[in-house]
Homo-oligomer: 194 residues x 2
């Protein structure tokens, strides 16, 4: 790979990271090419040298963060410990992303509005994979006899729903620390599984 190509790649990632912070502040719809460019001290025209269009940039941001989150989850899932310990740890990881990457990683947002058909398919596939990691964690507990679950699908949806909702109300300056929150959610969810 040529030097210039390497530099281009690095720049692309810089743009991605900046775009992610803008998206987290303004949402996908509210983030303008102008603001993203300004943040990078360049003009919006340049962005089109690196990305086909806004949708492409948004898509890559979403993928970037969601892939990273999925990888983190996978590491936890494949780590040591009881099923309960693993699930609690996955919940904690997920909550971190829900809070810190509020918008970019937002599983709530309707992806149909932003992405074209190809992108949509890939996003949905990634989201499905992400969800399946929780299924695996639950299944593991069931197999080991740690968990008892009547309908794993519903429980998984309750886990994702209740945790994704956190981004609607959690404020760092509120009465609960993030650690307390994780502990609390872990307790309640484990209760559902016994």
């Amino acid at each position: 790979m040529k030097l210039s190509e390497k530099r281009t790649l690095k720049k692309k990632e810089q743009i991605l990271l900046t775009a992610i912070t803008v998206i987290n502040q303004r949402g996908y719809g509210g983030a303008t090419m102008e603001e993203i460019a300004a943040e990078l001290l360049m003009t919006k025209g340049s962005l089109y040298y690196y990305f086909k269009n806004k949708g492409d940039l948004m898509y890559q941001c979403h993928n970037f963060v969601l892939s990273q989150a999925a990888n983190d989850l996978k590491d936890v899932l494949e780590g040591e410990g009881t099923a309960e310990k693993i699930l609690r740890s996955m919940i904690a990881t997920h909550i971190d992303y829900v809070i810190d990457e509020k918008e970019t990683n937002n599983l709530i947002i309707e992806p149909r509005s932003f992405f074209d058909d190809y992108q949509l398919e890939s996003v949905l596939k990634l989201r499905k994979y992400y969800s399946s990691l929780f299924d695996q964690a639950i299944e593991k507990g069931v197999i080991l006899g740690e968990f008892y679950v009547e309908d794993p699908f519903i429980v998984r949806m309750m886990i994702l729903g209740s945790t994704n909702w956190i981004q609607q109300w959690y404020r760092p300056e509120g009465r609960m620390t993030k650690d307390e929150l994780k502990q609390n959610f872990g307790d309640h969810i484990v209760k559902l599984l016994k």
Copy 2:
């Protein structure tokens, strides 16, 4: 009240109801004045005779549906039965709105993007009231000794989060009927409260 005023009011409600269906299909952002007008067999200019602007129309739609949902919940809350029965019934009602008024009643959407300061304040107040009805249902159960809850706030947030999330995945043609869904969620949530 003059006849013409009465007719205007009726027309306003017609517009509201139509706008609500359009919003439910396209979301707040995706609903255009053009499409709403077309649906009513009028031109978009007319809408401005009845509503100040798009934000005003969106706001009134949101309020209309959310108020109605809140009233329904209130009726249930004040009805007869054990705390468990009442809470299950409230959950069922909420799920109906989550599914049927997918977008308009969407508590997930960031209201800051659509509403002006005055509207925002009133929307947030209404949402707070809506949440408080669940708090009351939980509290009732605690007082009666039916429920045991360590942190009612967290439980309420888990209820709202997990149920609001339903709109992301529920499909009427799926394997679960709405009634099974309500039963299922009721069971799980009650488990959290004992």
